[in-house]
Symmetry: C2
Subunit: 145 residues, 2 copies
DNA sequence: CTACATGCAAATTGTTTGCATAGTT
DNA sequence: AACTATGCAAACAATTTGCATGTAG
């Protein structure tokens, strides 16, 4: 995953938004994240950028569909870079790690269900909770994403 | 769905918790709800019970697995009575209605995916977003659960 | 009577907003 | 220069907690 920042900035500008230093910093921080991250993560990774600006930038990126909000079962919220491929999440209850998987067959079945209920499906989210491979193997690891 | 309150109170007591007036009121309010509800809904339905107590009671009921938290995509949170049957949600982006569906085949596929990732699955949640049948038919209904 | 539960208000936490200033184009 | 974005602090909303009092068992 290349910094992607340049491409993204271009896209921002194309839509009438400005390529500012703060946005650059936030985008750089995001591009370094391999897994879903919190607003707090970004604030730490981009010191000097105000919290409010991070929130505003996240909202902007959501509107541009460059990032998407991921509300976890415990009430916390993370964000992740939108990838073109649709996917779902495996959330470890012990260490908090969030990983992904995808399965076209599963998606197809979901569409079928929506249709059965006469529901006009826009999007969906599927989260699996439990223990990741590492945690179920090492029962005494410390909690840390 | 009978008031269920008596049965529930018995269960509470069995676990060393007390069957107080406030809990009774909250349980009565919950038992009347047909669809997922908010804490606010309960506060309104059980006036005289403090907000803090409603929150405390909800947490207690969650621990007892009598109720489960349902974090919506827009950041809101609802609760619903735990039914024995596992199910998923259809959430209408227009009117906010939350309905349910279930599909054993879908659940089986989910288990398969978890196994493939060496993930020890405890639970999962699946939410479909879009327009419910009513809203996609009547494009100008008002927003209201 | 004793321990647990409640209400209220204060404390947190997470997020949004108003406004004067700094930064982009 | 014109207009947008930022930072900070205040405003908010949702949820939690401390504590004196009420109450179920």
């Amino acid at each position: 995953m290349p910094p992607a920042t340049d491409e993204t900035l271009a896209r921002l500008e194309g839509l009438g938004h400005r390529a500012t230093g703060s946005r650059r910093a936030v985008l750089d921080a995001i591009s370094l994240k391999h897994a879903p991250f919190t607003v707090e993560d970004i604030c730490e990774a981009a010191p000097g950028v105000g919290r409010a600006t991070v929130f505003r930038t996240m909202k902007l990126l959501q509107d541009l569909e460059l990032v998407c909000r991921l509300p976890l079962g415990d009430g916390g919220v993370r964000y992740e870079v939108s990838r073109s491929e649709h996917h779902h999440h495996l959330i470890c209850s012990r260490c908090g790690a969030v990983t992904e998987f995808s399965d076209p067959e599963l998606d197809a079945l979901i569409v079928t269900n929506a249709r059965r209920e006469a529901f006009r499906l826009d999007s969906h989210s599927l989260e699996l909770y439990g223990l990741c491979a590492a945690c179920s193997a090492a029962p005494n690891a410390l909690r840390n994403p």
